[in-house]
């Protein structure tokens, strides 16, 4: 499977496939189902400096080919995560992409410093795009200036490379991307969820206790593809692509759009074995077409000299 080997800043991966943040917790539950060492990496659940309780239930609602979630960044706090929760990924020898969230620049820096110091962590994923907490998070993802500021501050306290997770809930995502690139980011993750709402038709009231939630799943894939297509042409940063991936064809599309690696989120709920399955299928897909390395697919959608597939 050497054709799948993918090396990105801080992430030395057997293959370019990882579970997405918030859909895999810290790996313990999935370690009961399969050998985590088959994964390229693992994007673990967001860490905030202090423990967070999250939102009231119901926290999830199904939508056509998608789902809304408003978990609200529930987590035991960065220190507890570092000390108690990274063992499963560590034992499997896969690099951890540590998702960091907060409500202020200080918050982000505090969580970043704690997580970057963990031996298991290969890189940080700065979540400036969570739509589910009242203050903070998303406003950083909506303003190129603020996004650059928080990125710069976190890069200063982190010895590990920093990926910035971009929000689709913004007018000009490429402006945010170029701004965080200048501020020192080593990579991008995109996309986070799209803010949405579902109503109970009988009562007319929102289904989620938080009223709004983040939309994920196959329904958001076209949005993600468009954004990666656009951003990958405007920056030199490697992109971890996500948003509705549930088949090997989806992975190919994300790579073609401009991603160098991919993350699988919501699909883990439907099929908890999806990551190992897709890794196997990706290798077969490439072999069948005699593509010598997966990286050849990155950006095919726009690169002028892209190799046509026979």
């Amino acid at each position: 499977m050497s054709r799948l080997k993918t090396k990105l800043p801080g992430l030395d991966m057997k293959n370019p496939v990882m579970p997405a943040s918030g859909c895999f917790a810290f790996g313990a539950e999935f370690a009961d189902l399969y050998d985590l060492s088959v994964l390229g990496a693992a994007a673990v659940k967001a860490a905030t400096p202090e423990p967070r309780r999250g939102n009231p239930v119901p926290r999830v609602a199904e939508t056509d080919s998608g789902m809304l979630n408003a978990i609200g960044l529930q987590n035991p706090g960065a220190k507890a995560i570092r000390e108690e929760h990274l063992g499963h990924c560590g034992k499997a020898g896969i690099p951890v992409l540590a998702n960091i969230a907060g409500t202020s620049i200080d918050d982000y820096c505090e969580a970043a410093a704690v997580m970057a110091a963990a031996q298991e962590v290969g890189a940080l994923e700065l979540n400036i795009s969570c739509p589910n907490v009242k203050e903070g998070g998303i406003q950083f993802g909506n303003d190129p200036q603020l996004a650059a500021e928080v990125t710069r501050a976190v890069c200063e306290v982190s010895a590990k490379p920093v990926y910035v997770k971009l929000s689709p809930n913004t007018g000009d995502i490429a402006a945010i991307a170029t701004s965080v690139e200048k501020a020192g980011a080593s990579g991008l993750s995109m996309i986070n969820t799209l803010i949405g709402m579902r109503l109970d038709t009988e009562t007319g009231r929102p289904v989620l206790a938080n009223k709004t939630g983040g939309l994920s799943g196959p329904a958001v894939k076209p949005v993600a593809i468009r954004m990666i297509y656009e951003v990958s042409q405007r920056t030199d940063l490697p992109i971890i692509g996500m948003g509705g991936i549930s088949s090997v064809e989806d992975i190919i599309d994300f790579l073609s759009a401009g991603a160098s690696a991919v993350a699988v989120g919501t699909a883990n709920f439907q099929n908890p074995f999806i990551c190992p399955e897709l890794i196997g299928e990706l290798d077969e897909w490439l072999e069948k077409r005699q593509i010598s390395h997966v990286s050849e697919l990155t950006g095919r959608s726009w690169k002028s000299c892209s190799v046509p597939l026979s």
């Binding site: 859909c23 009961d32 119901p58 926290r59 999830v60 883990n268």
Partner: protein, 247 residues
């Protein structure tokens, strides 16, 4: 835990819109026990991404029974599966009811909270426990499992409109009982709350919540504990000892 396509061997409509499915497979999920559930795929899983949690109502080495109400798009899709076709299930998930090994038990269930009590009654009676069940429904046409539960002991049925059994709520009827050592209850929080607060004897409650993963990874299904912490209903439960969770 396995993810498997099980064959629908037998399909019965046991009450209005309530289906009893007997599933068969070479890999019947091992360790099925009362209170645990299957995460059942609705349709091909493309339009409806989330699996539906459904309790195991009976199981042996070759078969596994679920009983569910077709109440929304997903359960309707599951209900439309034809005998001989397969259903994609993941499980069994969660932790079940701890089984008493002597004394008497009161089982309390409302609506679709009744199916796990059937499996529970069977296992308790195997352990020599005397079982009484109090089960509640909206109306006579909704009643199911009453006859099956009678095999295992006394059964009292309540309906909200009085068209079958005692008129009223299952909680009121349950609280009239005092001759038991342990109670077991399954249903919506509003039903479990008065039981947890008013029954002196020890007992267990089984909760429902909207779920994502079903295995403890997504934090969709949390419930506050009385001591200030929280539990995940899918993996720490759905069964909890009386007094642990805030209802």
């Amino acid at each position: 835990m396995i993810k498997e396509k099980l064959k629908l061997a037998k399909k019965e409509e046991v009450a209005a819109n309530v289906y009893k499915f007997t599933l068969e497979g070479s890999h019947i999920p091992p360790r099925c026990s009362p209170g645990r559930f299957l995460h059942v795929q609705a349709g091909d899983g493309r339009a409806m991404l989330l699996r539906r949690p459904i309790s195991i109502s009976a199981a042996d080495d070759q078969t596994c029974v679920i009983i569910f109400r077709a109440s929304g798009a997903g359960t309707e899709a599951i209900a439309s599966v034809r005998v001989g076709d397969t259903i994609d299930v993941f499980g069994p998930l969660g932790s079940g009811f701890p089984l008493l090994d002597d004394g008497t038990a009161l089982l309390v269930g409302g609506g679709v909270g009744v199916p796990p009590l059937h499996f529970l009654a069977e296992e308790l009676v195997k352990n020599g426990i005397r079982v009484k069940s109090v089960i509640g429904f909206r109306s006579a046409e909704d009643v199911f499992l009453a006859d099956e539960l009678r095999q295992y002991g006394e059964v009292e049925v309540t309906t909200e409109d009085g068209t079958y059994g005692t008129k009223g709520y299952v909680t009121d009827a349950a609280l009239m009982n005092s001759e038991f050592d342990t109670f077991y209850a399954c249903g919506p929080k509003a039903m479990l709350h008065p039981l947890q607060e008013n029954i002196e004897a020890p007992g267990y409650v089984s909760l429902e919540e909207r779920m994502g993963c079903g295995i403890g990874a997504c934090f969709a299904c949390v419930c506050d504990k009385k001591d200030g912490g929280y539990v995940k209903i899918c993996s720490d439960g759905p069964v909890f000892e009386k007094g642990v969770v805030q209802l």
